[in-house]
């Protein structure tokens, strides 16, 4: 299995330790050339909205790892906010994965069945799961 380095990845998570670990994993395995990090849904949405509204799809990441439980705007609120752009997102090559340590089956199913969501990944995310999330 060959790993192709993607251009830009994005982590939306408020757990700083987790974010540094993911950064290390991405660098070590050369999974992405560039990494966007947002501490909460609001920060990420502001970035996405600007790219989408400005028709600047190239600014969008190819892979997103989205946490659910965050302050200000949580993962669900972020997904709701993106709803109006669902079509544009589907046309772009963006793969949005929800990554959470929730064990609530309701939340897991809700994430899997969400139109914009590619997959639900349980934390801790293994190296294999990371690599498969980054395979386009």
């Amino acid at each position: 299995m060959s790993i192709k380095t993607i251009h830009r990845a994005c982590i939306i998570d408020d757990d700083k330790l987790y974010v540094s670990l993911i950064k290390m994993l991405i660098n070590k395995n050369e999974l992405a050339q560039e990494l966007l990090v947002f501490e909460n849904g609001k920060q990420a949405f502001d970035y996405f909205e600007e790219a989408l509204a400005g028709n600047n799809a190239t600014a969008l990441p190819q892979v997103v790892l989205l946490d659910l439980n965050m302050p200000i705007m949580d993962g669900w609120e972020f997904l709701d906010a993106l709803e109006p752009y669902a079509n544009e997102l589907k046309q772009s090559s963006l793969k949005l994965n929800v990554v959470s340590s929730t064990i609530n089956p309701e939340e897991m199913n809700k994430a899997r069945n969400h139109a914009i969501v590619n997959d639900f990944i349980t934390k801790p995310i293994s190296k294999e799961a990371m690599i498969s999330a980054f395979r386009l």
Partner: protein
């Protein structure tokens, strides 16, 4: 003589008025009659006792409405009766002194030549039953809310424990082949962080669990003394941010409460006020107690950044909900405050406006 005694005993045992009075007393029942031609209202047996009406107070069609708590219900009752319909319903009456009383009330029109010329009926106090039901319903609501918070608590706690466990696993995985001393240092610092967070979560868990298991010993406590003790701990912070704290406990100086709970309420709310102060203006915290009727209140107001209640009201008192980007926002304080206040039979509410400040009101039992 023997014969006469037997007859009077027989009469006594069959005396209808005796039994009527006994029924009225036992069941807390009163009767009334209203003469629609003269407007006079006659109260029978238990009525005056039940409503505490003095014997010389005359009641007529003009002043009778004061005894009915709900004027709409009263109007409908009269309207239906004048149309010749009988009514039976539960309604709330005002006693002579203004106290409310739930009764089962009936009213039958009295007709002469097809015209309603009088109304009469009885009413029985059902106050005890209605109030019991209301208490049970209220208790059920509190239990339901507590239960929801506990389920949420269990979820969030498991979520947090899993986060730490998963970070630990991820750290070990990421550093599985470290050899460089600088990498080892980073590795150790990560382990330290995880251990610290894990400890904190366990500490929170312990604090929440003990609220409901510990013996809650209430003492008569001096509110000002407790407040000053907490304030002392914040002395440096208050000075550092140039905050003013004023208080007035004149309306309620002391209360039967668990001292550590009150201390925790003060500590969390003051710490929040400092954390979420508005950097545009010096922080002002105003604390006071209020005692109105049977309600005992503690009010803590600040001029901080405020909370967007439209978005957050439902989740404000949930555990690990944070609404600000502050690094030290951990979302435990308000959850603990609410749990403690409710464990002692009270409640807490908040009013807030973004950019203006927040006001927390605690109702003691």
């Amino acid at each position: 003589m023997q014969n006469n005694n037997e007859i009077s005993l027989q009469n006594a045992l069959e005396d209808k008025s005796y039994f009527l009075n006994e029924i009225a007393t036992m069941t807390q029942t009163g009767g009334y009659g209203c003469n629609l031609i003269t407007g006079a209202i006659i109260l029978n047996f238990g009525s005056r006792d039940l409503l505490g009406i003095p014997h010389d107070y005359e009641i007529n069609i003009d002043n009778v409405s004061r005894f009915f708590a709900n004027k709409k219900v009263f109007k409908k009752l009269i309207g239906d009766s004048l149309k010749g319909n009988s009514t039976i319903l539960d309604l709330e009456m005002n006693k002579f002194d203004g106290e409310r009383l739930w009764v089962r009330f009936n009213c039958h029109p009295f007709l002469q030549e097809d015209r309603v010329v009088g109304l009469r009926g009885v009413f029985t106090s059902v106050d005890r039953y209605i109030k019991n039901t209301q208490e049970v319903e209220n208790a059920a609501l509190v239990i339901k809310a507590q239960n929801e918070r506990l389920v949420h608590f269990a979820h969030i706690l498991s979520h947090n424990l899993r986060s730490h466990a998963s970070n630990l696993q991820l750290t070990l995985q990421t550093f599985d082949d470290v050899k460089e001393p600088s990498d080892v240092e980073v590795f150790n610092s990560y382990l330290n962080d995880i251990s610290f967070s894990l400890n904190q979560t366990l500490h929170h868990l312990n604090e929440v669990v003990t609220i409901n298991t510990e013996l809650k010993i209430k003492e008569n406590i001096d509110i000002e003394a407790i407040f000053n003790r907490v304030l002392l701990d914040f002395e440096e912070d208050i000075k550092a941010v140039n905050a003013t704290v004023t208080y007035d406990f004149a309306e309620l100086l002391s209360i039967e409460y668990v001292p550590s709970f009150l201390e925790s309420v003060f500590r969390n709310l003051i710490s929040n006020a400092i954390k979420y102060r508005d950097l545009e203006r010096p922080l002002k915290i105003v604390v006071k107690t209020k005692s109105k009727n049977k309600r005992k209140l503690l009010i803590i107001r600040d001029n901080g950044i405020g909370i967007d209640l439209k978005r957050h009201a439902g989740k404000l008192f949930h555990m690990y909900r944070t609404f600000h980007t502050n690094d030290d926002a951990r979302g435990v304080g308000l959850f603990l405050v609410k749990s403690k206040v409710e464990a002692l039979g009270g409640d807490i509410s908040v009013k807030s406006e973004l950019g203006k400040g927040s006001t927390f009101s605690i109702r003691f039992e």
